[in-house]
Amino acid sequence: MGRFWSLLFLLVPVIGVGIFVVCAAEIGIEDHWLPENVNEHGRVIDDLFMFILYLTGIIFIATGIALFWFLWKYDAAKNVEPVKYVHGSHTLEVVWSIVPAATLLFIAIYQMNAWADAKMRRPTLPGSDELLPPLVEVTARQFEWRLRYAGVDQVMGTDDDVFGVNDLHIPVDEDIVIAIKSKDVLHSFFLPNLRIKQDIVPGMKQHVWFKSNKKGVYDIVCAELCGWGHYKMKGRLTISSRDDFNIWLQEQYENQEVSEFEPEGSE
């Protein structure tokens, strides 16, 4: 019986690794690995992710096999000798404390630059120290993304602001800053293809920035359980050329400023 359980436990590393290999190598299924990266700096995030995945993957396989081996070897039915008590090994404990501590320290130092780029070094206006103003302000609320573009004058809170919902447009190949706020509860602004994820706290104004390098239509999702409708809190991100973006923004502005109306069929 004990050997049955040891084989069952062996399935954990086998199936676990198998799923990762099938997804990453796209054997028979697609779109189950990381979504396409369209952020110029996203590569760094992916490299960090893969590094940590390999590191933890090796440890996962090693502990899985060790667990199996001990279960197999010390099966009660095959070992009739009485149990021996071992006090422990001081050396072993020192080793398994220091090695993970050193590894964690290494990761902490190794990722510092990526963290600073993503969270602290907000892009500045060309040729100056002044921070780049946000192109758009995203206000999360249960369960949608309300948008406000700064408009042509690039200043938020003026007459040419453009308002929208769920349908975010961004120009390609430019540094973009987005201000994000929450109207009600905790949300998390997640752009999977841009490797951007930022929790949003009510009453706080956060900023995220990125530079996308490919046109296309991508997802916006909420990555923080924010209520029963969390699953349907999704939006659409359209990355287009600067010209197309300007045309789109102008169209939105004109739709928003309609100030006369004649009903159809009236004479």
């Binding site: 907000r122 949608e144 809170g157 349908d167 009453g203 104004k205 928003q256 100030s259 009903p263 159809e264």
Partner: protein, 391 residues
């Protein structure tokens, strides 16, 4: 081995019990029946209630199999059967891949199977989800007593209603949006017809029947008259949008100043509800028509008999805070013009008095749109230390 046996036994039990949902049914409008019973002393015997249910089912079908009422009125401008079938029924898809049950996928948890605004999440919301059965909709281009146009409903679904729990359905495909618009219409017409029939039945003696096969035609005519009147209202609404003359040209600051004078003046009287500082605090004790349908603020204790039948605890309707820059019915100048000119159906917001000229209304629109721009309207937001401007 025993462990495996136990595990599979538990698994088997879970699979057998399954997770079937109860069959969806339209609920009779018990609250309105009780109200008519109290006010007009209607009999509403069990037989009469059963008659009503039978007539409603014959006219409108069931949530899984909706009918377009066939009473001689051409309803092609209101519904298409295949669109209704996309919205109705349980969530899933038909054999040819067309979606099904869109209403139950997107709307039912707030608006309820019957469209009575009493879905499972409704009681936690403020404002409550719309009860379509009164046939009243707030944000529309038509006059107060007229149903909304197709475009009015489409805009609400497309943009959502900011500041309420109604989200935007911008990203769902166009024909699915169309199916939902038609289904909302269907539920609203169904609910209105039911109310009208209840009103007719309130006059009945105990032996009278709404529809009895043995008497037939004459009474059927009474029913079809009610249905046709409601259908014709909705069909006529399509051409009833308010015409909006272009905004007058002029110095913006000047127009805002004129609007401000009107806002605080006696003719428009905005300040009475929206408050001295336009924060929506002029009065906060009124109720909307959906609450007043069963709730009389002068006799608050009477509400319990209706709440026992499923009515929601009445909530006060709060005038809009005009400094927040959030416009439930849309922020376009023409949206604000409509709100002021037509009023907001079902709420204490009245239509503009005849003595206000279109130019006056435009000035008010300009003033209202300028309010969120004032510095006092913008509260401070904390900026985290990692991306403050550093000097």
């Amino acid at each position: 081995m025993r462990a495996i046996a136990t595990t599979s036994a538990i698994l088997g039990m879970v699979l057998c019990v399954g997770c079937g949902a109860p069959i969806a049914e339209f609920q009779q409008n018990h609250v309105y029946i009780l109200k008519q019973k109290n006010e007009l002393d209607g009999a509403f015997t069990p037989q009469q209630r059963k008659d009503l249910a039978n007539v409603m089912e014959a006219l409108f079908g069931t949530p899984d199999n909706p009918h377009i009422p066939q009473t001689g009125v051409d309803t092609s401008s209101l519904f298409e059967q295949n669109k209704l079938l996309m919205a109705a029924g349980p969530y899933g898809s038909y054999e040819d891949g067309r979606p099904r049950g869109l209403y139950r996928e997107h709307c039912v948890h707030c608006h309820g199977v019957t469209g009575d605004g009493k879905g499972p999440t409704a009681q936690f919301l403020n404002p409550y989800p719309r009860d379509y059965r009164l046939g009243k909709f707030k944000f529309k281009s038509t006059p107060s007593a007229t149903p909304p146009t197709h475009e009015d409903l489409r805009l609400i679904l497309y943009n959502g209603i900011p500041d309420t729990a109604m989200p935007s359905f911008k990203l769902i495909p166009g024909d699915e949006l169309e199916a939902l618009i038609q289904y909302v219409r269907y539920l609203s017409i169904r609910g209105t017809v039911e109310r009208e029939l209840i009103f007719v039945m309130a006059e009945y003696g105990e032996e009278e029947r709404l529809f009895d096969e043995t008497i037939g035609a004459e009474q059927a005519e009474e029913v079809t008259d009610v249905v046709n009147a409601v259908l014709e209202d909705w069909i006529a609404a399509e051409g009833a949008s308010l015409e909006i003359p272009p905004a007058p040209k002029g110095e913006k600051a000047d127009m805002i100043a004129k609007g401000k004078a009107l806002f605080y003046g006696d003719i428009a009287g905005c300040v009475k509800c929206h408050g001295d500082s336009a924060l929506g605090d002029g009065q906060k004790t009124d109720y909307d028509d959906w609450a007043k349908d069963y709730f009389d603020p002068k006799k608050p204790d009477d509400r319990y008999q209706y709440i026992a039948l499923g009515a929601l605890e009445p909530q006060n309707i709060i005038p809009r805070n005009l400094r927040a820059g959030v416009y439930r019915g849309g922020r376009r100048p023409i949206d604000l013009y409509r709100r002021i000119a037509n009023g907001i159906t079902g709420t204490p917001m009245p239509k503009a008095p005849a003595s206000l000229s279109p130019d006056d209304i435009w000035h008010l629109v300009h003033y209202v749109r300028s309010l969120p721009r004032e510095t006092t309207s913008n509260p401070y937001q904390h900026v985290p230390a990692n991306n403050r401007e550093r000097h």
